[in-house]
């Protein structure tokens, strides 16, 4: 009871509460059995797909029109699904086990709970995403020159010293973190892991599929600018920037808006509803 009062009524209640909530969320995420495996799977699958694509791509002659950085970061498309599961389970597991009630009794300020979850999750995904992206780029750097991506064909080895490549790498890490935050918001709103995962994957995957069917060029472009995955992954492009439907950082901005909207809606629902 004393703890509760200290959290709720002290002069620096908000900050103390957030710090304790962060610690609590970190403990929960750290000690949940699946977390380590999911993180390993996310990094492993990302690097594996990236390496496979780098090994399969070929550049037979100069000016073969390929984007080496984007190619070697293809694995992000599968990695995002695993990070989405991690994010969904961060709150979905609490709803399925009833733990959420304990959490909300311990930290009655519900937005604080969500903010703490988002911060801890975001940090973990940023760290794991960095490993995955660096691994993918390393695989590309090692494998691509063997398939004709040589300096003679206009492809110097992938390096973070190159501005666009650095932007693609940093952007991809941020992309993964934003997908995780989007998933956290959706899972908080729907309160069921399976449904939440399906909604997130639907949001990510249905846009690129719909785009293939829409023949009207106007709508085609708009859908590409709107879709969280199609817009967000624009940050990976390092060639042909003029032809992109949306500029790299603006694309990531669209995904940020999706994530923010999902978290705000989740915060509102979390405050208004019974747990």
């Amino acid at each position: 009871m004393t703890t509760y009062q200290a959290v709720g009524d002290g002069p620096h209640a908000g900050w103390t509460g957030l710090r304790q909530a962060l610690h609590a969320e970190w403990t929960k995420l750290r000690t949940t059995p699946g977390t380590v495996w999911l993180l390993l799977a996310a990094v492993g699958l990302t690097v594996a797909l990236s390496a496979a694509v780098s090994a399969a791509a070929t550049c037979p002659s100069a000016g073969c029109g390929q984007d080496a950085a984007k190619l070697s970061l293809t694995g992000v498309e599968v990695g995002q699904a695993v990070f989405a599961v991690l994010a969904v389970l961060a709150i979905g597991n609490e709803y399925s086990t009833g733990m959420i009630r304990v959490t909300l009794v311990a930290v009655p300020r519900r937005t604080t709970v969500l903010a703490a979850k988002a911060a801890v999750l975001g940090g973990v995904v940023l760290a794991a995403g960095t490993v995955a992206v660096l691994g993918s780029l390393l695989a590309g750097r090692l494998l691509l020159p063997g398939n004709g991506f040589t300096a003679a064909h206009g492809y110097p080895p992938l390096s973070l010293a190159d501005g666009p490549t650095l932007r693609a790498a940093v952007g991809s890490v941020l992309y993964l973190a934003l997908v995780a935050l989007l998933s956290l918001g959706v899972a908080t709103a729907v309160r069921d892991s399976a449904t939440a995962v399906a909604v997130v994957l639907g949001l990510l995957f249905l846009f690129p599929l719909l785009i293939q069917v829409v023949s009207d060029p106007h709508w085609h472009r708009h859908l590409q600018q709107l879709g969280p995955m199609t817009a967000g992954l624009a940050v990976q492009a390092t060639t042909g920037l003029r032809d992109l439907p949306i500029a790299p950082w603006s694309g990531l901005g669209v995904l940020t808006a999706w994530a923010a909207a999902s978290l705000l809606a989740a915060a509102q629902l979390l405050r208004l509803r019974d747990a």
Binding site: T58, L201, P208
Partner: protein
């Protein structure tokens, strides 16, 4: 028509294509062609010597008016050079020109007396077509021009309208929803502990799983059937021109879509029983089925790896929805991005079925071995 290296062919309505006798046709080895009409039925004949005729095919053109135009044509498709890059594959090329010589041209029946006139046929599509004139010397015609007259193929040259599988794009949304339902059908029992009651009531665990698979498969098939029929009907009513396909093909696409949903539901059920966690199972199945399709068709991968993805992953099953056939005599980019799968429809579906059987088998094995 006669072709340089694909023998004699009879084509109709940009969809029909019947092959006649094979073999190269050249000035040294010419062919005789004859087209006869009876009502709205056209019959094509070919002959090597002008005396012995064989039927190539018969076509019924509904609502053919009593007065028709007939003529001689020459076609020459654009040259094409294919390059593979991150946007999939692309083709560059330019127009080519062909000249055909027709002799001993004859007409039987009630044709009006008059002279032949020359005109360019058709103006659609990216192909640069032109009519370069014709010459008549003593009953022999020499016609020159460029452009192609051929059955419609997917991709840039497709022209207006849509192929039927595009009106079934909603399959993906239905698939994701169904995967959730099928997974929860078993994982919800684990979460609530109902699985213990179920297995107490029916101790033969394989039987429980089989019963669940039958129920979820049937539900998926029924939902897919209704969904596909309604989707195609809605698109037709809304006025979008759907490229005509034969009734067996349309039936295969509709029933195949239902089958696709049914088998995916069984796969999701198996994954749920193996993993016993709903979020993990849903993600695994969605990623295994939808992601390879996106990677292969949404122009992320070069055509080679894209083909392999649609051979070895469960996404191969989407081949059952392919409605456009590949024509050997029509140059085109037959790539996944243009709607062409590397496997035949039922073979691709078989790959998906094999995955479902494998996962369901693993689920049955684990269900028997594990405590609940």
């Amino acid at each position: 028509m006669v072709t340089g290296s694909h023998g004699v062919r009879m084509q109709d309505d940009f969809t029909g294509d019947t092959a006649g006798s094979p073999g190269a046709v050249s000035p040294e080895s010419p062919r005789w062609l004859r087209l006869t009409r009876s009502g709205d039925t056209l019959t094509g004949y070919e002959s090597g010597d002008g005396t012995h005729w064989t039927t190539v095919g018969t076509v019924r053109l509904k609502g053919l008016p009593s007065t028709v135009r007939a003529g001689l044509f020459v076609a020459s498709p654009d040259s094409m050079e294919v390059t593979d890059h991150i946007g999939g594959a692309s083709a560059t090329g330019g127009p080519t020109r062909a000249t055909g010589v027709f002799d001993r041209v004859g007409l039987q029946g009630s044709w009006p007396r008059g002279t032949w006139t020359g005109t360019g046929v058709g103006d659609r599509g990216p192909a640069t077509s032109s009519f370069d004139g014709f010459e008549e010397t003593g009953g022999s015609f020499t016609v020159s021009g460029s452009g192609d007259i051929a059955p419609a193929v997917g991709g840039m040259a497709f022209g207006s309208g849509q192929n039927i599988e595009r009106s079934l794009i909603g399959t993906f949304a239905g698939l994701i929803a169904l995967i959730v339902v099928a997974t929860l059908f078993v994982t919800a029992e684990y979460r609530r502990g109902l699985i213990r009651t179920t297995l107490t009531a029916t101790p033969r665990r394989g039987r429980v799983l089989a019963a669940k698979a039958v129920v979820v498969g049937t539900a998926g098939f029924a939902a897919g059937m209704v969904g596909a029929v309604v989707a195609i009907a809605v698109v037709r009513v809304s006025g979008v021109r759907i490229h005509p396909v034969s009734t067996p093909t349309e039936l295969r696409v509709v029933v195949g879509t239902a089958g696709l949903l049914a088998v995916t539901a069984v796969l999701a059920l198996g994954a749920g029983a193996v993993l016993r966690r709903s979020a993990g199972a849903v993600t695994a199945v969605v990623v295994a089925i939808v992601l390879p399709y996106i990677l292969a068709t949404a122009s992320v991968l070069p055509a080679g790896p894209a083909d392999w993805l649609l051979r070895i992953t469960p996404a191969a099953g989407f081949a059952i929805q392919q409605s456009l056939p590949q024509y050997p005599q029509v140059d085109n980019l037959y790539t996944p991005a243009n709607g062409y799968f590397p496997l035949a429809p039922w073979v691709g579906f078989g790959v998906l079925c094999a995955y479902a059987a494998l996962v369901l088998g693993l689920a049955a094995y684990l269900l028997r071995r594990r405590d609940v």
